[in-house]
């Protein structure tokens, strides 16, 4: 892992991988949407409304996954002080917040059709809402300091503190009586969802994952380039200041 913590190596590797990742994400998302909207059968209870699931469930998985990744990157940043890990965590946060918002909005639309209400204060929904606020708090904290390094270090600690929410999200449907259904894909004894719906779902999930990976690489590359630009500007300002203050110039008439 330490081999890949080198920013220059990351720039070379990501330049090679990113286009393929983005192209594959586009293909998989296109295929997944086609399968989800036209091939997968309507549900015997929910009818056509079940198709919201193909966006909602991958978005929910990504919401938790991105937070776990962010926390892992933060742990790496704290333990080994890899600058790339800080950048990874910061670049992942807005993406994770986006997935969480997508999950909440699609869930709300689905809930209106199935439960007859846009929102219920049940454990799963509340814990995902808390996850959304954790993302927002992280983003606000990282940007709240004049010195960027300070924000990164504070954010890393907050990201690790927020990890307590992940098991609560996962097990909220088992621990409490909720309106939200329990897990039907990742469970002991195999998925209870029909294969004709499971396959489009998995294609969508893989598409979401690659889409995230591609965006993460774009964001990390942008952050690295922005840091470089900032360093160059600072150097230029310092050179300029040094030139202004040289005795030769001061002696000019």
């Amino acid at each position: 892992m330490h081999r890949f913590a080198n920013p220059a190596r990351f720039m070379r590797l990501s330049a090679a991988i990113m286009p393929w990742c983005a192209a594959l994400a586009a293909v998989l998302l296109g295929l997944g949407l086609y399968l989800a909207l036209f091939v997968a059968p309507p549900d015997y209870q929910q009818g056509e409304d079940v198709r919201i699931m193909f966006i909602h469930v991958p978005a929910a998985w990504m919401a938790s996954f991105v937070y776990a990744l962010m926390a892992l990157a933060s742990a790496v940043a704290i333990i080994w002080r890899h600058p790339l890990a800080d950048i990874a965590a910061q670049s992942a946060a807005p993406l994770g917040a986006g997935f969480t918002l997508l999950c909440l909005v699609t869930g709300s639309l689905w809930g209106e059709r199935m439960w007859g209400t846009w929102w219920v204060w049940d454990a799963r929904l509340t814990s995902v809402l808390v996850l959304f606020f954790l993302y927002l708090g992280y983003i606000a904290l990282v940007n709240a300091f004049d010195e960027p390094g300070r924000g990164a270090r504070a954010g890393a600690i907050l990201a690790l503190v927020g990890v307590v929410n992940l098991p609560i999200i996962k097990f909220s449907v088992d621990w409490w009586n909720t309106l939200h259904q329990p897990a039907s894909v990742f469970r002991l004894g195999g998925p209870t969802i029909a294969p004709s719906m499971l396959w489009p779902l998995l294609v969508m999930a893989l598409g979401f994952m690659l889409f995230f990976a591609a965006l993460l690489m774009v964001r990390m590359r942008t952050a690295l380039i922005a840091a470089k630009v900032r360093a160059l500007r600072l150097a230029e300002v310092e050179r300029h200041a040094a030139a202004v203050l040289t005795p030769r110039q001061a002696a000019l008439p």
């Binding site: 606000a140 709240a144 004049d146 270090r153 504070a154 600690i157 503190v161």
Partner: protein, 221 residues
């Protein structure tokens, strides 16, 4: 242990000499609770129904209000750096500061709460559970809040940021605190909810000082 005790006494003395943080927090608590009968109407049935929630939410906000000062003053005048050089681990110092914070905010809030519940027509069965749940829950608020206070040291708009960081983490405490009172009023056992509150406290007691001390260290770097 003497250093631990002295740190608590120092914080308490500072709190009392600087014009009564405790009085201010309790004043905020009382005034905010009094706003509710004007906001939702004075019908006793309605107020009794939402009394537990009002008291808990307001206590939580009052505790939050005083958190900003937890490390801020020490950080600004540099005594935090001197404290960090003490042989007493920073984690223990955070614990001492949380304890002092709880003694001047959480404890008075818990003791005033029954009086406010009276104004809101809380069912009589709810009073002991109200005090008990606040006594069990408010230390968790101080501990979790210490993490947020340490993280937002020196940030722009620190106060707003602090509430954004801490409020989501306060939700579990609020849920079980209110649930215990509602359960007792509804004729069920309050014990499971109180045990969960205790579990939250037992979890926050070792973990929050660890995180807060880490945050303080990076603020002092």
């Amino acid at each position: 242990m003497t250093a631990f005790r002295r740190l608590i006494l120092r914080d308490l003395r500072l709190a009392f000499r600087q014009g009564g943080d405790a009085a201010m927090v309790v004043g905020f608590f009382v005034l905010t609770v009094i706003l509710f009968p004007f906001g939702v109407g004075p019908e006793p049935e309605l107020l009794a129904r939402i009394a537990a929630g009002i008291v808990w939410v307001t206590a939580l906000l009052a505790a939050l209000l005083s958190l900003e000062r937890l490390f801020q003053a020490d950080w600004e005048d540099g005594s935090l750096e001197a404290l960090a050089l003490m042989p007493l681990p920073l984690e223990a110092q955070v614990l001492a500061k949380c304890l002092a914070h709880w003694l001047v905010t959480g404890l008075p809030l818990s003791l005033v709460a029954p009086l406010l519940a009276l104004l809101l027509h809380l069912e009589p069965a709810g009073y002991p559970v109200l005090v008990l749940s606040l006594l069990l829950g408010t230390p968790s608020l101080s501990l979790i809040g210490a993490v947020g206070a340490a993280l937002s040291l020196g940030a722009r708009r620190g106060g707003v940021l602090l509430s954004l960081l801490v409020l989501p983490l306060y939700i579990p405490v609020l849920i079980f605190g209110v649930a215990a009172i509602e359960a007792r009023i509804g004729g069920f056992a309050a014990r499971p909810h109180l045990l969960l509150l205790g579990a939250l406290l037992a979890g926050a007691l070792p973990l929050a000082p660890l995180a807060a001390a880490a945050a303080l260290r990076q603020a002092l770097d």
